[in-house]
Symmetry: C2
Subunit: 137 residues, 2 copies
DNA sequence: TATTACCCTACTAAATCTATAGGAGTAAAA
DNA sequence: TTTTACTCCTATAGATTTAGTAGGGTAATA
């Protein structure tokens, strides 16, 4: 299952992508427009800013805005920031590899090989899809 | 993340696929060979039997065995039984569709469209991969 | 009839998810 | 200069899910 955090994060990003570039949008506005709990959204946008996807302006008429062109924001990046590794098991993760404790031999593990296929397939989708591809729906 | 339940279930299935067809293998044997907690495995195999993938024989020299040829067991079935719907959001699930409460218009939802791509890509992998494809690793 | 092994329900500890609370800090407008 | 409208940040709490465990029941077979 996709977490609400990721879901809301993607919705917020697409909302920002549709605005004039560089103009900050307040959390409250996004919260209302996308039906997202304000305080929850606050923490999500904070995460996105810390990851370098969003910029923010403090004080009156402040808010969040995209730091890059929507075309440059790949969903693989967004998913990694909000949802974590794209791989479904650590032993096939490219960025966060970890050996499975229960598995003596990866090369002989059926789950390992299946999950490599799944990872590659998902990586292709997330890598080929940018915010620009989603913002006009 | 893939749940341990699914991971262990796939391991158990591939172990059974490697045995002589129709000969029951005890839970204890699979548990030892694949490093899986016996009691946990018990509930997993029960689920697989109830779903129609496994048969069982009670009493001495009893155990579990595959009901179908490994080629006929697609991973899409296995995943659905153990992990649940393949779709990451209910609003793109073919078998368990549900409307998202927070989303007024699916056609206008970026997450919806992204998750359709992900679902199709995963469905392809799981549909094209059978137990027979994994058992010889 | 003793033993072996599956059958089944219920329970629990730990982790994760989904928020919420409450204030500190900042910038612009009145 | 005071007020207002924002973001920033940490902590916490309730709900849900996960990963197992406990313990007895039931059927088959040697």
């Amino acid at each position: 299952m996709l977490s609400k955090k990721t879901k809301y994060g993607i919705k917020a990003l697409t909302y920002l992508a549709k605005q004039e570039t560089g103009v900050p949008v307040s959390i409250a506005t996004i919260s209302e427009m996308e039906n997202i709990s304000l305080k929850f959204l606050e923490t999500i946008l904070l995460t996105l800013r810390k990851s370098g996807l969003l910029g923010s302006k403090k004080g009156k008429s402040g808010g969040y805005y995209l730091l890059k062109d929507a075309k440059e924001i790949k969903m693989s990046t967004v998913i990694r920031v909000l949802e974590g590794p794209i791989a479904m098991v650590p032993c096939v993760s490219l960025n966060y590899y970890e050996k499975c404790s229960d598995c003596p031999d990866e090369a002989a593990c059926a789950v390992h090989h299946l999950m490599i296929r799944v990872r590659d397939s998902n990586l292709k989708v997330y890598g080929e899809t940018s915010l620009a591809d989603l913002m006009h729906y």
